[in-house]
Symmetry: C2
Subunit: 189 residues, 2 copies
């Protein structure tokens, strides 16, 4: 979809689109999702109208802006699946997912909410969850992951991890790391 548009887009429009996405990523990461659209427009050096022309709603913008992180999520999970030791793989997945979410403020909210209309994001989320389920199954088979572990537990942990976003970025990342360690201990058999 992006490529189809990209080809018919005029050069200045394509530039602006990229600048808007960059600005959105920066502003979202810094202040969270709850920012005025105009703040992003200003940061990108474009007028409000241009911003709205490219992304009619904030969620449309967020979905695009976080596409990269969404892919990173999938990569992390795939990497975990590829690990010959499933428990070790799961541990790393938890650590990396927590850190990813801590580093990009709005992403956690988008990811957890999977708001209506962002079916692209929701679909990727589902895929990731399916892979995680498989990883968890294997880790349980080795006896290292607690047998009563549920996927919901992992979702719960990630959601709770999102509760740390009131802190400054550095503190948040540190807290998130510690938090991931606690979660891993809780999941250990």
């Amino acid at each position: 979809m992006a490529s189809a548009l990209t080809q018919t887009l005029r050069s200045d429009a394509r530039d602006n689109r990229e600048r808007i996405l960059d600005a959105a990523r920066a502003v979202f990461a810094a202040k969270g999702l709850d920012v005025p659209m105009r703040a992003i427009a200003r940061r990108a050096g474009v007028g409000p109208a241009t911003l709205y022309r490219h992304f009619p709603t904030k969620q449309a913008l967020a979905t695009e802006a976080f596409a990269e992180q969404m892919r990173a999520c999938q990569d992390i999970v795939d990497e975990g699946l590829a690990n010959p030791d499933p428990w070790q793989g799961l541990r790393v997945v938890i650590e990396k997912l927590c850190e990813l979410h801590a580093r990009h403020r709005g992403f956690a909210a988008s990811f957890a909410a999977a708001f209506p209309g962002a079916m692209d994001l929701a679909a990727r989320r589902e895929r990731a969850l399916v892979s995680l389920a498989e990883l968890a199954r294997r880790a349980k088979a080795t006896g290292q992951l607690s047998p009563d572990f549920t996927l919901d537990d992992l979702v719960l942990v990630l959601r709770a991890n999102g509760g740390l976003d009131a802190m400054s970025t550095t503190a948040r990342v540190a807290a998130s790391r510690r938090f991931a360690a606690l979660a891993i201990r809780a999941f250990h058999a």
Copy 2:
């Protein structure tokens, strides 16, 4: 302080004050802290001016409204300290604190933030933390609480627990219970 005011307050004023506090508790619990002041005024059946006369800022209102929960917090911690088995006491404290925070949306935010000006709340928070430190010390002594446990870990868990407030109340309480169980497992030696 409340009593000093109560005595010099006219009867209708005292009534309104109570109605406002009731309304605030209800609205905060239902929608969280981020509600227009006027919504609380409307709910209480008073004009905006009356609300502002009694509580000039939202934090002043929240501090008063959550005073009861704050006391409940202290009670929970004291109860934990009184338990002959410190580890058991700590477990119960964690469970109850998580549930308390889950049941009252805004409270978690106020508690964690201890925003400037609410020194009353902050002081109580400090007292509770001191007691918790003592409880943790004892629990470590019995060897049931992990030796590398820190008070920060507990604060972290409570803060993270606050991240669940996007859910509906019932779901939030359930998730919070499960979350407390996970935290306890993580803290177990």
